[in-house]
């Protein structure tokens, strides 16, 4: 009797063991994306992988975007991270620092990385060890959306490509002309997005265009950079736009450019393509970022993927990630989300981003290296909060230097309190 029972037990254990070794699913966490189709596309890609790799099928797990970061942090505390994980670019340095992510360089040959946009690679580069920790299907980019007939009527030069941007004088002259032409608030800076991540994302490029930055990317000190003369000049310019009545107030809502048409220029990212196109039709144009003082800068960064240190099959997960990053899938997912495809080959085939496509200028900016990622620093949560506060205060009329100095001090205090986020402080 006992022998029989032991035999059964052994058989059961053997079966469990077999299941673990041969059919273990790779857990893939995803935030769901903006549209239902994005999720379905990803599930389709994972199904295809599972069909080809029945020993290591991929299991799609959807986590709502609203509390995604909190769930990742909680899972990490509980040692329950999945094998493959997607995350917003702004959180990635914090994850890498906390040790959740595997460096990818050891799994792929150097050539593997060459087909990606520079901005995607730079986004995944972790400064302390110079390794890549993330790869994505798509990137974001910003430009100036225009109401083309309105600008033409006001006699404003319209840049044709990345190489002939507006200068600051031209841009401000355009705003003045549009105001005179009867546009209540010629420029929509999307202040209605509110004091959050979008302020660091959107106003960073304006500060960088003056030769300043949000934080020094070598020393990781904000004082002297975020409150430098160049940064003060940049944000004073923005404040003056608001003072002159050029900027759409937050309380006017989202559609001042494409709906009520009280604005003729809208500074925002590629995600507004559909509402803009549907409402403005052929009147819609998109031009490159102005060169306000020293350089043109586009914002970059989007959701991307990383292999977790918790995975027990890292080689296989890296293989899955490479499978997902095939050009055909890059093109597929980028098309669904309307974002910029992350590889040059996929971009060439994209209707929106190919050579004469309507948003080609955005990818050209990234190819030309005009994209500047948000600071890849584990202290980013404190950085973005401080910058958002400063931008909101400046728009509301606070002294620019004072607001930026306070933000810089808050960032530096956070980094200091965390002992420089070692190994960042060791440099």
């Amino acid at each position: 009797m006992r022998g029989l029972r032991n035999g059964l037990l052994a058989a059961a254990l053997a079966m469990v063991g077999f299941a673990a070794s041969a059919g273990e699913a790779l857990k893939v966490w995803h935030h769901g994306g903006r549209v239902q189709a994005e999720r379905e596309t990803i599930e389709g890609i994972l199904r295809e992988w599972s069909r080809l790799n029945p020993d290591y099928p991929a299991e799609y797990v959807l986590l709502p975007e609203g509390a995604y970061n909190e769930q990742v942090q909680a899972a990490a505390l509980a040692n329950r991270l999945p094998d493959l994980l997607d995350f917003d670019a702004s959180n990635y340095a914090n994850y890498a620092w906390a040790g959740y992510l595997e460096p990818l360089n050891r799994y792929y040959p150097p050539e593997f990385f060459e087909r990606f946009l520079p901005s995607i690679l730079e986004q995944g580069l972790y400064a302390p060890d110079g390794q890549y920790y993330s790869l994505g299907w798509f990137d974001s980019g910003t430009g100036m959306w225009i109401n083309r007939p309105a600008l033409e009527k006001a006699g404003i030069r319209i840049p044709k490509g990345v190489d002939d941007p507006w200068s600051r004088e031209e841009f401000e002259d355009a705003l003045a002309r549009l105001k005179a032409a009867g546009f209540d608030y010629p420029l929509d800076l999307k202040l209605n997005y509110g004091k959050g991540e979008s302020f660091c994302y959107g106003f960073g490029p304006i500060i960088q265009s003056f030769g300043a930055d949000i934080i020094d990317r070598e020393t990781w000190i904000a004082a002297g950079t975020l409150d430098s003369d160049a940064a003060v000049e940049a944000m004073t310019m923005v404040q003056n736009w608001v003072r002159n009545g050029y900027v759409v107030p937050a309380s006017l809502g989202d559609d001042a450019f494409y709906g009520s048409r009280k604005a003729a220029i809208c500074y925002t990212g590629m995600w507004m393509w559909t509402p803009h196109r549907e409402n403005l039709g052929d009147a819609l144009g998109l031009v490159t970022m102005p060169n306000f003082k020293e350089r043109q800068v586009s914002a970059t960064g989007s959701w991307c993927w990383g292999v977790t240190t918790a995975s027990r099959h890292k080689e296989k997960v890296a293989e899955l990630l490479a499978f997902m990053m095939r050009d055909e899938y890059v093109l597929l997912t980028a098309n669904v989300s309307g974002a910029i495809p992350s590889t040059m080959a996929a971009a060439a085939q994209s209707e929106l981003y190919k050579k004469d496509g309507p948003m080609h200028v955005l990818i050209k900016q990234l190819e030309d290296g005009l994209g500047v990622p948000r600071p890849n620093h584990p202290g980013y949560p404190a950085i973005t909060a401080a910058v958002a506060q400063a931008v909101a205060d400046i728009v509301d009329g606070r002294d620019v230097r004072e607001a930026l100095s306070e933000a810089a001090a808050a960032i530096d205090m956070d980094i200091e309190d965390n002992q420089g986020y070692p190994p960042f402080g060791d440099r």
Binding site: Q73, L77, N94, W97, A98, G99, G194, K195, P249, A250, S251, L252, G253, P381, A382, A385, A392, D393, D396, G397, R398, A410, D414, D417, N418, Q419, Y421, P422
Partner: protein
């Protein structure tokens, strides 16, 4: 005798136990923890590379030295001082109105209570539309002044943002106090009014000498609960202004939220909570001492 007293004590404790346990676990313990955390640099996301350290009074020094905190504190106090009488006043007026022998007064009672049932987030979003540049309030303003007064950006203007939030909050919250006042009004002996009328008292005299004194205990309850609720102001501000413009609507709870969650500084947020608790506790104690409840009952 002693056995009986012991038995009583035991049964009293056993009746108190469930509530006491919950209070200990969910209120007392976190509070003690918060006091302990406020002396450390505890992070929201603990990291193996950085141990939490004891930082003595650093968190408290930083709060006291932060203009943002002082401003948030001032705004919260201003809000409490303004909204408490306003909200209670509306509530009392409405309670008297729906207490009168009006036709369909039950329907009116329900209608006036509606805003309180609607979640604050929904109310805030609805009012955001009313406050818009091309929204209801500006159209009303332009209509009343025959277009003379230009549109006001209610929530983006430092002088109008907090009053706008006060108006919204009073409107949303008065229903609750109205119901309490209604109960208070109905507990006043109607014979008192009859007697007053025979004595020749007018409506105002009735209100001053019967209604107000009769509502004394209700007043105290409403005042204390409304003040404490006012100190917790968060949702409206978070949805509508995020503390802006230039911090003019920031409140202590929102400040605490930003420090603790956006910036991940749990230790410092705990210090804010401790300071805030002491102040709110002091205020409600002062109210208790100044406004002695009438335990005897008048009617």
């Amino acid at each position: 005798m002693t056995i009986k007293r012991g038995g009583e004590g035991w049964s009293a404790w056993s009746i108190m136990a469930p509530a006491l346990l919950l209070i200990l676990v969910f209120i007392a313990a976190p509070f003690v923890l918060a006091i302990a955390l406020s002396f450390t640099d505890q992070r929201l996301v603990p990291n193996p590379r950085l141990a939490t350290r004891f930082v003595c009074l650093l968190n408290y020094e930083r709060i006291v030295g932060d203009n943002g905190f002082l401003q948030a504190f001032k705004n919260t106090a201003l809000f409490a001082v303004a909204v408490t009488p306003l909200q209670s006043g509306i509530a009392l007026a409405m309670a008297m109105l729906v207490n009168a022998r009006l036709p369909a007064r039950n329907v009116l009672r329900g209608v006036y209570f509606l805003p309180t049932v609607v979640p604050m987030v929904v109310v805030s979003i609805a009012w955001a539309c009313l406050f818009r540049l091309d929204g209801f309030f500006n159209q009303l303003l332009s209509f009343v002044t025959f277009g003379a007064a230009g549109p006001v950006d209610w929530l983006q203007n430092e002088s109008t943002a907090l009053p706008s939030i006060i108006a919204l909050s009073a409107w949303q919250g008065f229903g609750f106090q109205m119901v309490i006042y209604l109960a208070g009004l109905q507990s006043i002996n109607p014979e008192l009014y009859e007697a007053a009328r025979i004595e020749g008292a007018g409506r105002w005299g009735e209100f001053r000498h019967i209604t107000m004194p009769g509502l004394r205990n209700t007043h105290i309850f409403v005042l204390v609960t409304t003040t404490i609720a006012a100190f917790k102001l968060f949702t409206q501000v978070h949805v509508l202004t995020q503390g802006g413009p230039r911090g003019s609507t920031n409140t202590v709870t929102r400040y605490l939220y930003e420090i603790g969650f956006s910036r991940g500084r749990v230790g410092q947020a705990a210090a804010v909570a401790v300071v805030f608790f002491i102040v709110v506790f002091a205020v409600s104690m002062a109210q208790r001492l100044l406004l002695k409840e009438d335990r005897e009952g008048r009617s």
